[in-house]
């Protein structure tokens, strides 16, 4: 039997009258690659935040590898081995690329190992030329790549990426695709994305969010050709 690494049941998040997350039941298996799509405001980021402890869900439960983690704090969840990239870039702007990645590695490895792992990831993500540069000076695509490095260096078994390819050039996106495929060798990966091209190129199963709830969950082809999905999402985009 394949292990379920992430499960939510009845996950609901209300902001006053707004139901941002509506009774979401979600299941993810080890080393699965899953895409979340849905129009703006569909509740994808809110779902992520509830799972990662950045928000406390109003109702429902979250399980990771069978353990209930509902209401845990972000650092506790991350300490389990969960890598998280938020929609808004979250990096240390005044520090170097190397220091950013080293800090992420140091949480789980000794000083020496952390440096080795940071060097290794920097090489793998082709960040060598900018390793000593300050984060704040980098272009957007580079920053996104470094943030992926921050996630990858900790060797997580569950990775949650909120719009990792947003605002990237085609070349950057290609590189991102490679990195994500490498991640799936050891980790289950959930990606929120709007870029259909990108989703087609990587995803197997897609979950569609609409108005906080799960509208459907199926293979890329079936989702793309579904009239209802086209109506709420694709139609709007075209």
């Amino acid at each position: 039997m394949v292990e379920t690494v992430l499960e939510t049941s009845g996950l609901t998040m209300r902001f006053g009258g707004v139901i941002a997350s509506d009774n979401v039941n979600f299941k993810l298996q080890a080393r699965e690659l899953r895409c979340l799509i849905g129009p703006n405001g569909a509740g994808k980021s809110t779902f992520f935040k509830c799972v990662t402890g950045l928000l406390k869900p109003t109702e429902g439960h979250v399980y990771m590898r069978g353990q209930e983690v509902t209401g845990w704090q972000t650092h506790q969840i991350a300490s389990l081995g969960v890598g998280i990239k938020t929609q808004t870039p979250n990096v240390m702007d005044a520090l170097s690329v190397h220091e950013n990645i080293w800090l992420a590695a140091r949480r789980f490895y000794s000083i020496v190992e952390a440096r080795e792992r940071a060097d290794e990831i920097i090489e793998r993500l082709a960040l060598g030329a900018i390793a000593r540069a300050q984060m704040g000076q980098l272009a957007h695509g580079e920053r996104q790549r470094v943030e992926l490095g921050i996630v990858a260096v900790a060797n997580p078994w569950l990775v949650l990426l909120d719009e990792p390819a947003a605002g990237m050039s085609a070349q950057d996106v290609d590189r991102m695709t490679d990195i994500i495929h490498q991640l799936t060798r050891f980790a289950a990966v959930v990606i929120v994305e709007h870029d259909m091209q990108f989703i087609r190129s990587i995803a197997q199963t897609v979950t569609v969010f609409h108005q906080g709830a799960v509208l459907m969950e199926d293979s890329v082809e079936n989702v793309m050709s579904d009239p209802q999905v086209r109506a709420v999402y694709l139609g709007k985009k075209a």
Binding site: Q73, H75, V91, M92, L95, R106, Q137, H140
Partner: protein, 341 residues
């Protein structure tokens, strides 16, 4: 890394040995002693604010707490060793409790400022109201606004009659500052220090990496308070009296000004700022033409406007450009804004 560390230690020792030899030729050791003590107090805030991003409006509270702890226990024990140790521990424990409340409660920076300010005020008011004989701890009467005089001052450990005073006391204080400075250097080079800087830069990201931000900020806050407490105890020995003015808001504000003028985010800046401004205040105190609070205010405004990063970073930049130690020019700001949601 370790070569750079030993280089750092060597430079620190050479520079401080020179200063400890040279400065007494210009300024009386009695005045220098208090400058050194203020330098240590400045460093305590410079550590938590400059490297941990914790702006504490009540650093004077820990300074005063250290001084009072020393005075009270010194009267009761009659020997200075244990009181010195307690003067470090009591403020540290107090700060750990206060810090835990604030950081685990996820208070924003503004509330942090307000709470540390209010705690300082409360201590000030309370100490001022302890004039009656009912306010005594053991043999030590708190004495209200008159403070506590007449306690055992620093002695050679184990020998209460061998007082350490005068020039010797200056050397002891200077040595203490050098040791604290080296410890701070070591702390900042350690993983703990690098993580603290990460937290200063982006708490959310450090949390997402799995670091317990609240616990680490609490710890750093307590370390800062321990250093301030040590400075307080040294100050009590220097003045041979402790009064509630140690807790005053003016004192707290001054520490913040020292850090800004000297240079935040450097180890040396807050010490230079503290000693420099305290000396200036001392000089101004000897004349009555100009009000010295006005001058302090003016200096702060000038620095904020023209040298916002402070004295030490500005001098560093200057030296680097003279020596031709060219730093790589930062690339133009190419960052585009990501989509926010």
């Amino acid at each position: 890394m370790s070569r750079r560390a030993s280089q750092d230690v060597t430079i620190t020792l050479v520079v401080s040995a020179f200063l400890i030899w040279f400065l007494p030729l210009m300024i009386s050791t009695y005045t220098l002693t208090v400058l050194v003590i203020y330098g240590m107090l400045g460093l305590s805030l410079g550590l938590i604010w400059g490297f941990g991003g914790i702006l504490c409006f009540g650093q004077a509270a820990f300074f005063g707490l250290g001084a009072y702890t020393y005075a009270i226990t010194a009267i009761n024990i009659g020997e200075s060793t244990l009181p010195m140790i307690l003067a470090v521990l009591v403020p540290a424990v107090f700060a750990a409790l206060l810090g835990a409340m604030m950081f685990y409660g996820r208070l924003t920076d503004v509330y942090l400022g307000v709470i540390t300010l209010v705690v300082t005020l409360i201590l000030f008011k309370f100490m001022n109201s302890t004039a009656g004989p009912q306010y005594a701890i053991g043999n030590a009467r708190l004495g209200g606004f008159n403070g506590i005089p007449g306690f055992q001052t620093l002695n050679v450990p184990g020998d209460p009659s061998a007082y350490i005073w005068g020039d010797t006391y200056f050397y002891v204080c200077a040595l203490a500052l050098v040791i604290v400075f080296l410890l701070v250097t070591w702390l900042l080079r350690s993983s703990f220090g690098r993580i603290a800087v990460g937290i200063r830069e982006n708490e959310v990201r450090m949390g997402l990496m799995g670091y317990n931000v609240a616990a680490r900020k609490t710890m750093l806050f307590a370390i800062g308070a321990a250093i301030a407490g040590l400075a307080g105890a040294l100050f009590a020995n220097w003045g041979e009296i402790v009064t509630p003015n140690l807790f005053s808001l003016g004192q707290s504000a001054e520490i913040i000004i020292w850090c800004i003028v000297g240079g935040l985010g450097t180890r040396f800046g807050p010490i230079v700022g503290a000693a420099g401004l305290a000396y200036l205040k001392f000089m101004l105190g000897q004349q009555s033409m100009i009000d010295n609070t006005l001058i302090m205010g003016l200096i702060l405004v000038l620095f904020v406007l023209f040298l916002p990063r402070g004295l030490v970073p500005a001098i560093e930049t200057l030296l680097n450009s003279i020596i031709g130690h060219k730093k790589r020019k930062p690339k133009p700001h190419r960052m585009r804004r990501a989509r926010h949601g």
